[in-house]
Symmetry: C2
Subunit: 147 residues, 2 copies
Protein backbone atom coordinates (compact mmCIF):
# COMPACT_ATOMS: atom_id res chain seq x y z
CA UNK A 1 0.00 0.00 0.00
CA UNK A 2 1.43 3.40 -0.98
CA UNK A 3 1.46 6.45 1.23
CA UNK A 4 -1.35 8.00 -0.77
CA UNK A 5 -3.50 4.91 -0.40
CA UNK A 6 -2.73 4.84 3.30
CA UNK A 7 -3.65 8.51 3.57
CA UNK A 8 -6.94 7.84 1.82
CA UNK A 9 -7.87 4.99 4.14
CA UNK A 10 -6.93 7.00 7.18
CA UNK A 11 -8.90 10.01 6.06
CA UNK A 12 -11.96 7.87 5.53
CA UNK A 13 -11.60 6.09 8.88
CA UNK A 14 -11.14 9.29 10.86
CA UNK A 15 -14.11 10.85 9.11
CA UNK A 16 -16.35 7.97 10.10
CA UNK A 17 -15.18 8.17 13.68
CA UNK A 18 -15.84 11.90 13.73
CA UNK A 19 -19.43 11.51 12.53
CA UNK A 20 -20.29 8.92 15.11
CA UNK A 21 -18.65 10.80 17.96
CA UNK A 22 -20.31 14.06 17.05
CA UNK A 23 -23.68 12.47 16.79
CA UNK A 24 -23.28 10.92 20.21
CA UNK A 25 -21.92 14.09 21.81
CA UNK A 26 -24.90 16.14 20.68
CA UNK A 27 -27.15 13.54 22.24
CA UNK A 28 -25.40 13.52 25.58
CA UNK A 29 -24.59 17.20 25.95
CA UNK A 30 -27.68 18.95 24.71
CA UNK A 31 -30.07 17.35 27.21
CA UNK A 32 -28.22 19.37 29.82
CA UNK A 33 -28.25 23.14 29.93
CA UNK A 34 -25.55 23.78 27.32
CA UNK A 35 -24.71 23.34 23.64
CA UNK A 36 -21.77 21.35 22.31
CA UNK A 37 -19.58 24.42 21.79
CA UNK A 38 -20.43 25.73 25.24
CA UNK A 39 -19.53 22.39 26.77
CA UNK A 40 -16.24 22.37 24.93
CA UNK A 41 -15.46 25.82 26.27
CA UNK A 42 -16.14 24.63 29.81
CA UNK A 43 -13.87 21.66 29.24
CA UNK A 44 -11.07 23.81 27.87
CA UNK A 45 -11.30 26.24 30.77
CA UNK A 46 -11.14 23.39 33.27
CA UNK A 47 -8.25 21.60 31.60
CA UNK A 48 -6.13 24.58 30.58
CA UNK A 49 -6.84 26.67 33.62
CA UNK A 50 -8.02 30.31 33.61
CA UNK A 51 -7.56 31.77 30.16
CA UNK A 52 -7.92 35.02 28.33
CA UNK A 53 -10.44 35.14 25.53
CA UNK A 54 -7.91 35.02 22.73
CA UNK A 55 -6.09 32.11 24.36
CA UNK A 56 -9.37 30.22 24.73
CA UNK A 57 -10.15 30.90 21.09
CA UNK A 58 -6.75 29.53 20.06
CA UNK A 59 -7.22 26.38 22.12
CA UNK A 60 -10.61 25.78 20.52
CA UNK A 61 -9.51 26.65 16.96
CA UNK A 62 -12.21 29.31 16.83
CA UNK A 63 -12.29 32.98 15.97
CA UNK A 64 -12.26 35.33 18.94
CA UNK A 65 -15.65 36.72 17.93
CA UNK A 66 -17.23 33.28 17.97
CA UNK A 67 -15.55 32.54 21.27
CA UNK A 68 -16.73 35.83 22.73
CA UNK A 69 -20.33 34.85 22.06
CA UNK A 70 -19.95 31.32 23.39
CA UNK A 71 -18.47 32.73 26.58
CA UNK A 72 -21.22 35.31 26.75
CA UNK A 73 -23.91 32.64 26.83
CA UNK A 74 -22.04 30.79 29.58
CA UNK A 75 -21.74 34.05 31.47
CA UNK A 76 -25.45 34.66 31.31
CA UNK A 77 -26.08 31.18 32.64
CA UNK A 78 -23.50 31.92 35.34
CA UNK A 79 -21.23 29.01 34.49
CA UNK A 80 -18.17 31.17 33.92
CA UNK A 81 -16.62 34.19 35.57
CA UNK A 82 -14.92 37.18 34.01
CA UNK A 83 -12.10 38.82 35.90
CA UNK A 84 -10.44 41.96 34.56
CA UNK A 85 -6.68 41.82 34.62
CA UNK A 86 -5.53 44.73 36.82
CA UNK A 87 -2.32 45.05 34.77
CA UNK A 88 -4.16 45.30 31.49
CA UNK A 89 -7.61 46.79 31.43
CA UNK A 90 -8.36 45.27 28.03
CA UNK A 91 -7.76 41.68 29.09
CA UNK A 92 -10.10 39.35 30.92
CA UNK A 93 -9.40 36.13 32.76
CA UNK A 94 -12.06 33.47 32.26
CA UNK A 95 -12.71 30.75 34.80
CA UNK A 96 -15.58 28.47 35.86
CA UNK A 97 -17.99 29.16 38.67
CA UNK A 98 -18.74 26.29 41.06
CA UNK A 99 -21.98 25.58 39.22
CA UNK A 100 -20.07 25.57 35.93
CA UNK A 101 -17.67 23.00 37.30
CA UNK A 102 -20.49 20.90 38.67
CA UNK A 103 -22.32 20.94 35.34
CA UNK A 104 -19.21 19.97 33.45
CA UNK A 105 -18.49 17.11 35.84
CA UNK A 106 -21.99 15.74 35.32
CA UNK A 107 -21.78 15.84 31.54
CA UNK A 108 -18.23 14.56 31.55
CA UNK A 109 -19.14 11.54 33.66
CA UNK A 110 -22.01 10.75 31.31
CA UNK A 111 -19.75 10.92 28.29
CA UNK A 112 -16.96 8.94 29.86
CA UNK A 113 -19.19 6.16 31.08
CA UNK A 114 -20.67 5.99 27.59
CA UNK A 115 -17.17 5.80 26.13
CA UNK A 116 -16.36 3.05 28.65
CA UNK A 117 -19.37 0.99 27.56
CA UNK A 118 -18.33 1.56 24.01
CA UNK A 119 -14.92 -0.01 24.51
CA UNK A 120 -16.04 -2.74 26.87
CA UNK A 121 -15.44 -5.43 24.23
CA UNK A 122 -12.18 -3.96 22.94
CA UNK A 123 -9.09 -5.45 24.64
CA UNK A 124 -7.25 -2.94 26.85
CA UNK A 125 -3.98 -3.25 24.98
CA UNK A 126 -5.80 -2.42 21.75
CA UNK A 127 -7.20 0.72 23.33
CA UNK A 128 -3.76 1.69 24.58
CA UNK A 129 -2.37 1.23 21.10
CA UNK A 130 -5.10 3.36 19.60
CA UNK A 131 -4.47 6.05 22.15
CA UNK A 132 -0.83 6.41 21.25
CA UNK A 133 -1.51 6.44 17.54
CA UNK A 134 -4.38 8.88 17.69
CA UNK A 135 -2.21 11.25 19.69
CA UNK A 136 0.60 10.93 17.21
CA UNK A 137 -1.76 11.76 14.37
CA UNK A 138 -3.12 14.77 16.22
CA UNK A 139 0.36 16.10 16.79
CA UNK A 140 1.25 15.58 13.14
CA UNK A 141 -1.89 17.43 12.07
CA UNK A 142 -1.31 20.25 14.49
CA UNK A 143 2.28 20.76 13.33
CA UNK A 144 1.00 20.89 9.80
CA UNK A 145 -1.56 23.57 10.65
CA UNK A 146 1.09 25.87 12.04
CA UNK A 147 3.05 25.91 8.80
Amino acid sequence: MSRLERAEELYEAVNQLIRVHQFRDRDYICCHDVSVAQCYALETLIKRGPLRLQALADEMYLDKSTTSRVVDSLLRKQYVLKLHDPDDQRAIQLSLTPSGEALYQTIHQDLISEEASMIKDVPPEVVDGALTLIRQLTIAARNRLGS
Copy 2:
Protein backbone atom coordinates in the same frame (compact mmCIF):
# COMPACT_ATOMS: atom_id res chain seq x y z
CA MET B 1 -5.09 1.92 34.34
CA SER B 2 -8.79 1.15 34.85
CA ARG B 3 -11.35 0.99 32.08
CA LEU B 4 -12.79 4.34 33.13
CA GLU B 5 -9.39 6.00 33.04
CA ARG B 6 -8.74 4.46 29.67
CA ALA B 7 -12.12 5.71 28.45
CA GLU B 8 -11.29 9.20 29.66
CA GLU B 9 -7.95 9.30 27.86
CA LEU B 10 -9.48 7.96 24.70
CA TYR B 11 -12.32 10.46 24.79
CA GLU B 12 -9.86 13.30 25.17
CA ALA B 13 -7.58 12.03 22.40
CA VAL B 14 -10.38 11.52 19.91
CA ASN B 15 -11.77 14.94 20.69
CA GLN B 16 -8.46 16.58 19.95
CA LEU B 17 -8.16 14.71 16.69
CA ILE B 18 -11.67 15.74 15.71
CA ARG B 19 -11.02 19.44 16.31
CA VAL B 20 -7.90 19.46 14.22
CA HIS B 21 -9.46 17.51 11.38
CA GLN B 22 -12.55 19.67 11.28
CA PHE B 23 -10.54 22.83 11.29
CA ARG B 24 -8.49 21.60 8.38
CA ASP B 25 -11.47 20.28 6.42
CA ARG B 26 -13.23 23.64 6.54
CA ASP B 27 -10.10 25.24 5.19
CA TYR B 28 -9.72 22.85 2.29
CA ILE B 29 -13.35 22.39 1.32
CA CYS B 30 -14.81 25.85 1.59
CA CYS B 31 -12.44 27.47 -0.90
CA HIS B 32 -14.21 25.38 -3.51
CA ASP B 33 -17.86 25.80 -4.39
CA VAL B 34 -19.36 23.76 -1.53
CA SER B 35 -19.72 23.64 2.24
CA VAL B 36 -18.47 20.83 4.46
CA ALA B 37 -21.87 19.15 4.71
CA GLN B 38 -22.38 19.42 0.97
CA CYS B 39 -19.01 17.86 0.35
CA TYR B 40 -19.80 15.05 2.70
CA ALA B 41 -23.04 14.39 0.83
CA LEU B 42 -21.13 14.21 -2.44
CA GLU B 43 -18.69 11.78 -0.86
CA THR B 44 -21.43 9.56 0.49
CA LEU B 45 -23.22 9.47 -2.83
CA ILE B 46 -20.02 8.50 -4.62
CA LYS B 47 -19.01 5.84 -2.11
CA ARG B 48 -22.41 4.31 -1.39
CA GLY B 49 -23.78 4.59 -4.89
CA PRO B 50 -27.12 6.17 -5.86
CA LEU B 51 -29.25 6.59 -2.76
CA ARG B 52 -32.68 7.66 -1.73
CA LEU B 53 -32.96 10.70 0.47
CA GLN B 54 -33.74 8.78 3.64
CA ALA B 55 -30.89 6.36 3.01
CA LEU B 56 -28.50 9.26 2.47
CA ALA B 57 -29.72 10.85 5.70
CA ASP B 58 -29.08 7.60 7.57
CA GLU B 59 -25.57 7.30 6.17
CA MET B 60 -24.79 10.86 7.24
CA TYR B 61 -26.46 10.59 10.67
CA LEU B 62 -28.66 13.53 9.77
CA ASP B 63 -32.38 14.19 9.80
CA LYS B 64 -34.10 13.82 6.44
CA SER B 65 -35.15 17.47 6.53
CA THR B 66 -31.56 18.63 6.95
CA THR B 67 -30.47 16.24 4.24
CA SER B 68 -33.21 17.47 1.92
CA ARG B 69 -31.86 20.99 2.13
CA VAL B 70 -28.26 19.96 1.68
CA VAL B 71 -29.24 18.02 -1.43
CA ASP B 72 -31.29 20.96 -2.61
CA SER B 73 -28.28 23.26 -2.61
CA LEU B 74 -26.26 20.67 -4.53
CA LEU B 75 -29.12 20.37 -6.98
CA ARG B 76 -29.19 24.09 -7.62
CA LYS B 77 -25.46 24.03 -8.29
CA GLN B 78 -26.06 21.07 -10.58
CA TYR B 79 -23.74 18.71 -8.75
CA VAL B 80 -26.41 16.08 -8.11
CA LEU B 81 -29.24 14.56 -10.07
CA LYS B 82 -32.69 13.56 -8.90
CA LEU B 83 -34.35 10.60 -10.59
CA HIS B 84 -37.87 9.59 -9.69
CA ASP B 85 -38.27 5.91 -9.06
CA PRO B 86 -40.81 4.63 -11.63
CA ASP B 87 -41.99 1.99 -9.15
CA ASP B 88 -42.58 4.49 -6.37
CA GLN B 89 -43.55 8.03 -7.26
CA ARG B 90 -42.64 9.26 -3.80
CA ALA B 91 -39.06 8.08 -3.90
CA ILE B 92 -36.07 9.73 -5.56
CA GLN B 93 -32.71 8.33 -6.51
CA LEU B 94 -29.85 10.72 -5.92
CA SER B 95 -26.64 10.56 -7.90
CA LEU B 96 -23.81 12.86 -8.96
CA THR B 97 -23.62 14.72 -12.23
CA PRO B 98 -20.29 14.65 -14.08
CA SER B 99 -19.45 18.09 -12.73
CA GLY B 100 -20.33 16.89 -9.23
CA GLU B 101 -17.94 13.99 -9.59
CA ALA B 102 -15.24 16.24 -10.98
CA LEU B 103 -15.61 18.68 -8.10
CA TYR B 104 -15.48 15.93 -5.54
CA GLN B 105 -12.37 14.43 -7.10
CA THR B 106 -10.61 17.78 -6.95
CA ILE B 107 -11.43 18.37 -3.30
CA HIS B 108 -10.72 14.77 -2.41
CA GLN B 109 -7.27 14.89 -3.97
CA ASP B 110 -6.50 18.07 -2.06
CA LEU B 111 -7.57 16.52 1.21
CA ILE B 112 -5.76 13.26 0.63
CA SER B 113 -2.51 14.87 -0.37
CA GLU B 114 -2.75 17.02 2.74
CA GLU B 115 -3.36 13.89 4.81
CA ALA B 116 -0.37 12.27 3.13
CA SER B 117 1.91 15.19 4.04
CA MET B 118 0.55 14.97 7.54
CA ILE B 119 1.65 11.38 7.99
CA LYS B 120 4.90 11.66 6.08
CA ASP B 121 6.94 11.31 9.27
CA VAL B 122 4.77 8.61 10.83
CA PRO B 123 6.04 5.07 10.09
CA PRO B 124 3.70 3.10 7.78
CA GLU B 125 3.15 0.31 10.28
CA VAL B 126 2.05 2.88 12.87
CA VAL B 127 -0.51 4.28 10.44
CA ASP B 128 -1.75 0.77 9.68
CA GLY B 129 -2.15 0.10 13.37
CA ALA B 130 -4.07 3.33 13.89
CA LEU B 131 -6.29 2.48 10.96
CA THR B 132 -7.37 -0.85 12.40
CA LEU B 133 -8.01 0.58 15.82
CA ILE B 134 -9.89 3.62 14.65
CA ARG B 135 -12.16 1.37 12.62
CA GLN B 136 -12.75 -0.88 15.58
CA LEU B 137 -13.71 2.10 17.69
CA THR B 138 -16.09 3.36 15.04
CA ILE B 139 -17.80 0.00 14.83
CA ALA B 140 -18.09 -0.18 18.61
CA ALA B 141 -19.60 3.31 18.70
CA ARG B 142 -21.99 2.56 15.89
CA ASN B 143 -23.23 -0.63 17.54
CA ARG B 144 -23.80 1.33 20.71
CA LEU B 145 -25.85 3.95 18.83
CA GLY B 146 -28.18 1.36 17.47
CA SER B 147 -29.12 0.08 20.91
